[in-house]
């Protein structure tokens, strides 16, 4: 992800300080290094590149606007940015406009069986691009997708999959442990 646009490199601490001081060069560096990771996430959430593009731009505007309130003691900058993007995208996929267009598209498909009454689709075919998750046990992969890409809260997953809240949390941990192993 090294880019030629910004020859500078920053430590996370320097980067945060520069951003909080309103340094646009630092912001450019931030964008060049992280926009692709966040765009990938947004695409996997909303499944539409026009929408993902808009959300990415709006999220970066938020990042720039609220960087003063980022507190490095509470977590890493990337985690903070990722949460801004996901929250923004989850708001979008839960909005009436998005749901309407989604439903319309679904009713176009004559072979689709009737919906089971849930707001979320259970069709993960288009998310197979996330091949890493294929290496996870199915239950953990499903949970990871529901939480990271569909904006389910632990409570909602617990109700939908009919497993206890405590189990949802430990399963999330198991999924992360698997991811960590895959990456090391």
């Amino acid at each position: 992800l090294k880019t030629i646009h910004t020859p500078l490199t920053y430590t996370e601490k320097d980067l945060v300080e520069s951003l909080q001081a309103g340094d646009t060069t630092a912001f450019s560096y931030l964008y060049d290094n992280y926009s692709a990771a966040l765009y990938g996430l947004l695409l996997r959430i909303v499944q539409d590149d026009t929408l993902a593009k808009d959300l990415l731009q709006e999220s970066f505007v938020k990042i720039w606007k609220y960087i003063g309130s980022y507190d490095s003691r509470k977590g890493r900058l990337f985690t903070w940015m990722l949460n801004i993007c996901s929250t923004h995208a989850f708001e979008m996929i839960r909005s009436e406009v998005y749901k309407q267009s989604f439903k319309t598209l679904e009713s176009e498909c004559t072979t689709c069986s009737a919906t089971d009454g849930s707001d979320h689709t259970d069709n993960y075919d288009y998310k197979v691009l996330d091949t890493t998750l294929e290496n996870l046990p199915p239950e953990q992969a499903m949970l990871f997708m529901k939480i990271v890409y569909e904006g389910y809260t632990h409570d909602e997953v617990s109700k939908e999959l009919k497993i206890s809240l405590g189990h949802v949390k430990t399963l999330t941990r198991s999924a992360f442990i698997h991811l960590r192993k895959l990456q090391s």
Binding site: L1, Q20, A21, G22, T24, F27, Y31, S35, A36, A37, L38, Y39, G40, L41, L43, R44, T50, A52, K53, D54, L56, Q57, F60, V61, W64, K65, Y66, I67, G68, S69, R73, K74, G75, R76, F78, T79, L82, N83, V97, Y98, Q100, S101, T104, L105, S107, E108, T132, I147, T153, H154, V168, K169, T170, L171, T172, R173, F176, L179, R180, Q183
Partner: protein, 277 residues
């Protein structure tokens, strides 16, 4: 607190994913300060999430950065700016002033007025621009929605063409179904082609069925009611002809309100319309 046990509950993952409650957040933050093991584990989870996201990165189109830059340079001041002061430019000394064009006072005032005016216009236009952007987003979504709907609407249009041709065949029986008293405005028409046994129904008015109920068409044949098909739940469009079951013989037609999915025999006290052939 047993640290290992606390970590194994998965609370730290919840925290990183932004799913912890406020109470849990405070707890995690305070425990992370007290116990380096928790802080290290948190960091490892965050690193995993970052690494995972970087592995799955997809480069956005270049236009996004351009638009973002335009926004940031004209956009509003940021919230919670740190207290760091911007370094002031060194005051112009006498020697450097020699190299500078001496600015006439009126020119300075004119420039100042222009700057103030431009700032004012920016302030005026910014909310409008923001609103436009929102509207644009809404329109984009609407456009997608409409495009999808057009495709759906095309199908009934095609079939209404066919319906029109069909209605012109000789031998077609048109039977008006009249209200029985359940609803004085209830009205429907049956189009029946005995030669081909084809049967269509046009509903002009029937009260909206309550949840769990559906209208069902019956044909009276040799004095006995026979199911002629149920009316689709979303039979809202009045003009549409609904294709029903093939019927070789009939003396009368009637519509009753039945359980969704239809019944094997009609509920006679829920009959809305009837008409003889």
């Amino acid at each position: 607190v047993n640290i290992q046990e606390y970590i194994s509950t998965g609370i730290l993952e919840s925290y990183v994913l932004g799913l912890a409650t406020n109470k849990e957040k405070l707890e995690v933050e305070s425990l992370a300060r007290q116990h380096p093991e928790i802080a290290t584990e948190l960091r490892a989870i965050e690193d995993a999430l970052e690494k995972y996201s970087l592995n799955k990165a997809i480069a956005p189109p270049l236009t996004v950065k351009e638009a973002l830059w335009a926004h940031i340079q004209t956009g509003p001041k940021r919230i919670a700016l740190p207290t760091k002061t911007i370094q002031e430019a060194p005051p112009a000394s006498g020697t450097s002033a020699d190299n500078m064009i001496r600015l006439k006072p009126w020119l300075v005032s004119a420039a100042l007025i222009l700057i103030v005016a431009s700032l004012g216009i920016n302030a005026l236009l910014y909310p409008r621009w923001q609103k436009t952007e929102e509207q644009w987003m809404a329109l984009l979504s609407e456009k997608k929605l409409l495009a999808a709907q057009i495709q759906i609407n095309n199908a009934p249009f095609k079939s209404s063409d066919q319906q029109f041709t069909w209605l012109q065949h000789p031998g077609l029986q048109v039977i008006a179904l009249k209200p029985t008293g359940m609803d004085p405005h209830a009205q429907a028409t049956v189009y029946w082609q005995p030669a081909t046994e084809e049967l269509f129904l046009a509903v002009h008015h029937l009260p909206a069925p309550p949840p769990g109920k559906q209208y069902q068409l019956w044909v009276i044949r040799d004095g006995k009611p026979v199911d002629a098909g149920i009316l689709a739940l979303q039979a809202s469009s009045k003009q549409m002809l609904h294709s029903m079951k093939s019927i070789p013989q009939a003396q009368a037609f009637a519509i009753t309100l039945e359980q969704a999915g239809g019944s094997s025999s009609p509920t006679l006290d829920a009959m809305y319309v009837i008409g003889n052939v």
